[in-house]
Each structure stands twice: as C-alpha cells, then as structure tokens.
C-alpha cells in the first residue's frame, strides 16, 4: 500500500489546519454559509436532513487494518457507533457535529487519511477495481496510476471550481468491476507493444441524464497521462455549461458538441500542455508503484479446501473469488445481511474486519462500489477460520451479486435531496427473497435503488433498478430493467408506471418468475431480458 512521505503528510496536516480555521471563521460569522459551503464540501462535509454528514475518502477503495480501526474509532467517538460504506468506495458518517469535524480530520490525518475533495465541484476521490493487485485477469495493478492521480488532483489550483463534480476511475481488466464507463473519465489500462498505457473514456455518468462514456483516446502513455488529463479537464472547465446545474457535468458538454469535437479540442490543448513539463518523470511513477509491489506470497500452498460444512461451502461458492496467486483467494464480506441497511457496519464489525485483514490479508482491505468489503489476499487454508469469525459477527451473508446484495443510497432517511426512502425498500426486498436457495437459483441479479433522480444508488446500472420519486406528496417507485455497470455496460429503461413500496416488491417478484420461465441455460436475468425484451415482463407485471 502507498505510504505518505513528509510531503504528503504535511499537505494533509495543512488541510486540517486550514479547515479548522475555516470552521472557526464560519462559527464567528466571518464566513457566510454561502461562502463556507464550498469549503466544507471540499472537505466532505454536507448538511443533511438531521445533522452534518462527513464523507471520508478511501482512495481507490484501498485501506489498511490500522486505517479501518480508525474508521471504527470515529464511528464510536463522533457518530452513533456505525458508518456507511458508499458506492464511491468511501465511508460516510451521518451524525457529525460541525465543531468536531476538524478534530475528526486531525485524527484521520494520523493514519494518512482525509476527506479532501470527497464533495464539491472538483476532482473527487479516484475509484478503482476492488480486486486490484489480486485479480487473476488484470494486466497490471491500477492503483499506482490511481495514486498518481490522487496527488495530481489534490488541491488542483485550476480545477477546484469546475462546472460540476468530476469522477475518475482507473481499472486494468477487461472485466469492469468499477462501473468505469459511468465516470466522467474512465481509464482502462492496456498494454501496447509491451508498454502500459491508458485507454481513455470520457463523459459517462448517471444522475438525471445517464450516459455511457465514449472512448476518446485509444492509448496514452504513463508519462503523458497527467498532461492529457489536464487538457481534458481544461476543455471542460472552460466550456462546460455553467448556466444550469443539471447540465453542467462533462457528459452534457460531450453530448452537445460530440465526442469527436471534444477529442479534437483535447488533442489541441494537449499539444500545448505537453510543452509545459507538468508530467512527473517515470521515476515518480516507479516510486509510487514500488509501494504496490505484491506481498511476499507463501510458495507451494495447497489449493484444497475442506467444504464439508455446508454453510461455509455456500459462502465460498458465492463470496470467494479466484486470486492471481496459487493457494490464495479473494474473500468478499457482504454488508447486506437480510433486513439490514446496505453498506452499514457497526464500529465493532469494522474493528473485526480490520483485525482479520491484519491477521490474514497482508493488512489490506478494499471497499467496493457495491458497498461491500474485500479481504483481497487470504490463504485458502485460512478461509474457514475467517468465515467463522465473520459469521459470529453477522458478516457472513453469502449473497455476493445476488438479488439481496442490493446497492441503496441513504434516501429519505438521511438525504436532504431525496424523494423517497431507499433503505426500508431494500430491507423488504431482501426479506422477500431471503431464502438462500431461491436467491442462488435466480443467480447474478444486480438490484440498485436510488432515492431520487441523482442516482447515487446507481439505479441506471441495475439489472433491476429502482428510482424513488415523489408523486403528489407520496413516495412512489419506478422500476427499470436492463442496466449494467460492468463490461457489458448499458442503461436501464423504465418499464412503465410506478408502484408503492409493496407494489414494487411484488413487481420484482413477478419479473423474477418471468425470468425463471423464459431463461435458457446459463442465462442471467439481464441476459434473458435483453434477449426477450420488455414485453413479457410488462405483461406479467401490469397485465
């Protein structure tokens, strides 16, 4: 994992002091709320329905046991004993007091963490593949690139007052586990003539106008990357729309002028920017990459696993993924127990996961955009012990990528922008499909719920998506089918009139019945839907 040197540490420490000073000026009245708002947002602090919410960055979703313990500590000391892992691979605390926020940032800084740019119209926390450095199918570890981008984007003087927020994702596998093409800029690392570089996509996003990012450059070498991104951002900063907040994301600019024209402008700007010498030397890239060198794998480990315990077997089948190294595995910890709040974990659970990582996973954890946690490097021989510990803590739900592994935004229970609640609906759906056999029979089925059109719950990318709307003062839910945030990326479509909370659960059940009746061998829900179209589903649901 990356470790701060004195430069990184002093930048983060300076930020804590700056924010302490800004909060003091706000509390004294020297700063108006209007002036303070963008400053607190750039430190991840939102004003929500009931309290301040603090979003802490987990850069590219990677953290150490010690950092995870700190997250538990903050949950206990400053919140109500739990935290919420988000679709941005971050963690949010929902019950924060403004005057304590600087102290929280100071505590985070002691373990090389921060909340910098987790909100605001700036470059946000870089997202990446949660299996980076462990996945069997990656061409390289994407995290050194993500860390390079973290540093470049932190306190960027030109791009801190963009038209709108800006999200960048880096992956390095053909399989997309991070919804790369639904980012403002998506980078897929590829090899060309033995050289690693980035294939660049731009203008994706969800929100009220979902778009899949088109490719704008087939290959950018490592030592051109920052110049290229600087050019891409500059074109956006200058020409992105600022007249209408709903049209201010880069996807609208690219949609309006066309990917080709955007690309032309970026190339022109790049030709200029490249002459300025703003790209760090490859030695800097190598310095960063050295922190992500593979851990000292034990050689000659067995791949055998005793699966005689049926519950353990179920968990292994569902939540454990092949690792690039023999004898090791990737273990997913589901934060979606039936009836639970998707993405929530108690301080005790967070501590336990931290301990397991330190003991069994080379001190590493990952946060996934599906709001789960990963132990990326565990010995197969340790899986049973790990599973027992998780099971005892209510963390061994065997439902990865099944219908109850629901992504849900905080919705009307917390969020000031929400139209409808997401959490109770997720709980009801989980309960309806609680039977493990039934879920497994339905296979991979990605269900995603957003409490409003802003789409934090990624409903556009759900095999089944649910969007909460306000219909004449009552909560109403629209149902969408056929989305995907993976390499088969697609946008879900609304199937028809909306439903009440119970109505939407019934409708989903009917849809799964249609799927079961029509599926051919090996077809997932989304495959069947794509093959047969919406009609049979609509008929069953509305007919």
């Amino acid at each position: 994992m990356y470790q701060y040197d004195t430069y990184d540490q002093s930048a983060v420490d300076a930020r804590v002091e700056e924010f302490r000073d800004q909060v003091a000026r706000r509390l004294s009245g020297a700063l108006s709320e209007d002036q303070f708002k963008p400053l607190r947002l750039m430190n991840g602090l939102y004003l929500q329905l009931h309290a301040y919410m603090l979003r802490v960055a987990v850069p590219y979703g990677t953290l150490s046991g010690q950092q995870m313990h700190m997250l538990a500590h903050i949950a206990r000391k400053y919140d109500r004993g739990y935290g919420h892992f988000t679709t941005r691979q971050n963690i949010q605390y929902n019950w924060i007091k403004l005057d304590e926020a600087p102290d929280i940032l100071a505590e985070l800084a002691t373990v090389e963490m921060h909340a910098i740019q987790t909100s605001g119209n700036c470059i946000r926390n870089i997202s990446s593949d949660q299996y980076a450095g462990a996945a069997a199918d990656e061409v390289a570890d994407p995290r050194p690139w993500a860390e390079l981008l973290r540093q470049w984007s932190s306190f960027h003087p030109e791009f801190s007052y963009l038209p709108r927020k800006f999200k960048i994702c880096v992956i390095a596998s053909a399989e997309d586990r991070a919804a790369m093409r639904l980012h403002d800029i998506g980078i897929e690392l590829v090899k060309r003539d033995g050289v690693l570089g980035g294939r660049i996509f731009a203008g994706g996003g969800m929100g009220r106008t979902p778009m899949i990012a088109p490719e704008i450059k087939d290959f950018v070498a490592a030592d051109d990357l920052l110049s290229y991104l600087e050019a891409a951002l500059r074109v956006y900063n200058r020409h992105g729309r600022r007249d209408n907040i709903y049209k201010a994301r880069i996807k609208i600019l690219i949609h309006e002028i066309g990917a080709k024209e955007y690309k032309r402008q970026v190339e022109e700007e790049f030709a200029h920017v490249k002459t300025l010498g703003i790209d760090p030397p490859l030695a800097e890239f190598d310095r960063i990459a050295a922190f992500f060198a593979p851990p000292a794998w034990e050689q000659g480990l067995s791949d055998d696993l005793d699966l005689s315990d049926p519950d353990f077997r179920l968990w292994v089948d569902q939540n454990v993924i092949a690792h690039q190294t023999p004898g090791y595995a990737i273990a997913n910890i589901s934060l979606k127990p039936i009836g639970g709040i998707p993405g929530d974990a108690s301080a005790d659970q967070i501590d336990l996961m931290a301990d397991l990582a330190t003991r069994y996973s080379f001190d590493e954890l990952r946060v996934t955009h599906a709001q789960n946690i990963v132990l990326p490097h565990v010995k197969k021989a340790d899986l049973y012990t790990i599973w027992q510990a998780l099971d005892e803590a209510g963390l061994a739900t065997a439902n990865l990528d099944l219908i109850s592994d629901i992504i849900a935004c905080p919705g009307l229970d917390y969020c000031s922008l929400a139209n409808a609640r997401s959490i109770p609906l997720a709980q009801k759906i989980g309960q309806r499909f609680a039977d493990p056999e039934r879920q497994r029979d339905l296979g991979e089925l990605k269900l995603k719920i957003s409490g409003c059109i802003n789409a934090c719950g990624h409903h556009h990318a759900g095999h089944i998506g649910i969007l909460g709307v306000d219909r004449k003062g009552t909560e109403n839910y629209q149902l969408l089918f056929g989305g995907s945030g993976a390499e088969d990326v697609s946008l879900a479509k609304i199937i028809g009139p909306g439903f009440s909370e119970d109505g939407v659960v019934d409708a989903i059940e009917k849809a799964t019945d249609v799927y079961k009746a029509l599926r051919t061998d090996g077809e997932r829900f989304v495959d069947t839907y794509r093959r047969v179209g919406m009609d049979p589903f609509k008929e069953a649901i509305y007919g």
């Binding site: 040197d5 430069y7 990184d8 002093s10 930048a11 300076a14 002091e17 700056e18 000073d21 800004q22 000026r25 020297a30 002036q35 963008p38 400053l39 119209n121 540093q151 470049w152 932190s154 306190f155 960027h156 003087p157 030109e158 791009f159 801190s160 007052y161 963009l162 038209p163 500059r234 900063n237 200058r238 600022r242 200029h272 300025l276 010498g277 703003i278 760090p280 030397p281 030695a283 800097e284 310095r287």
Partner: protein, 141 residues
C-alpha cells in the same frame, strides 16, 4: 474599492481596463477585462503590448478565470494579471498558483488571513507556471 492587493514590484497598473470587444477594435489600449465566457486566447497576439489583464469573477464558484490565467501565463504573458470581483481569501492561493499577481476583491480581505492562507501549503503537488517546485520534483531532484 481600495487599491488592488498586488504582488508585483511595479505596483498596480492604473489605466482602466476596456472590454475584450473594444480592445480588439481599438488597438491602442494596454489594459483589458476578460469576462468568464470570453476566450483568453483571443489576447495571445497582443501579449507584448498588454500591461494589465483583469479577469472578472462575478461569482467565486465560476472557475473559468483560473484557466484563463494559466493560458495567458503559459503563453508568455508577464504583465499584471488581476482577479476582480467575488474574490475570497480561500481562493487566493489557487489564484496565485494560476498566475494572478493582483487582486481587486469586491469585499476587502483581512490581511492577516490573506497571509496565513497564502503560506499554508508549503509545497504543491502540481507543476504550474508559478515557478514553485512540485513535490515530485523535490522527490527526484
């Protein structure tokens, strides 16, 4: 509005700035004002003759002026580059990094806060035209 806060040794330029349109029409002006939507590159043929470019920030949230400033500096402009309007102390350091060397804020800034804000971050991550060595350079000499 008092005198601009300037970081230039030659002080603030006194001639009032004209609009970009009038500047492009009547070619003897030496001071021009750029609105957020105007293209800084339109000034590139005239950089030698310009003594002041005033970049308007009608609202601090509109960050186009940061790009305008960098483009002018990156193209060799050495005259006064002034940020005018809704210029707040918490944006000053970034503006300096983008090449602004004078400020005409609508509301006066507290000089003590200005000083701490500008000195807060010892080293920047990015290379810009302001001449400060980025952290990667310090790491690798």
């Amino acid at each position: 509005m008092g005198d601009p806060l300037t970081f230039r040794t030659d002080g603030a330029h006194e001639e009032p700035a004209v609009t970009l349109d009038s500047f492009l029409d009547q070619s003897n002006a030496t001071a021009v004002r750029l609105e957020p939507g105007e293209d800084a590159r339109a000034l590139l043929p005239y950089l030698d003759r310009l003594a002041l470019v005033e970049v308007a920030f009608p609202a601090f949230r509109d960050g186009r002026g940061y790009s305008a400033a960098r483009i002018l500096r990156e193209s060799g402009y050495t005259g006064e580059l002034r940020a005018q309007g809704d210029v707040l102390v918490d944006q000053l350091a970034y503006m300096r990094r983008c090449g602004f060397d004078s400020f005409a804020p609508e509301k006066p800034l507290d000089p003590a806060v200005v000083k701490t804000s500008l000195e807060r971050y010892e080293h920047p991550y990015q290379a810009t035209i302001d001449g400060r060595a980025p952290i990667w350079k310090l790491r690798h000499g």
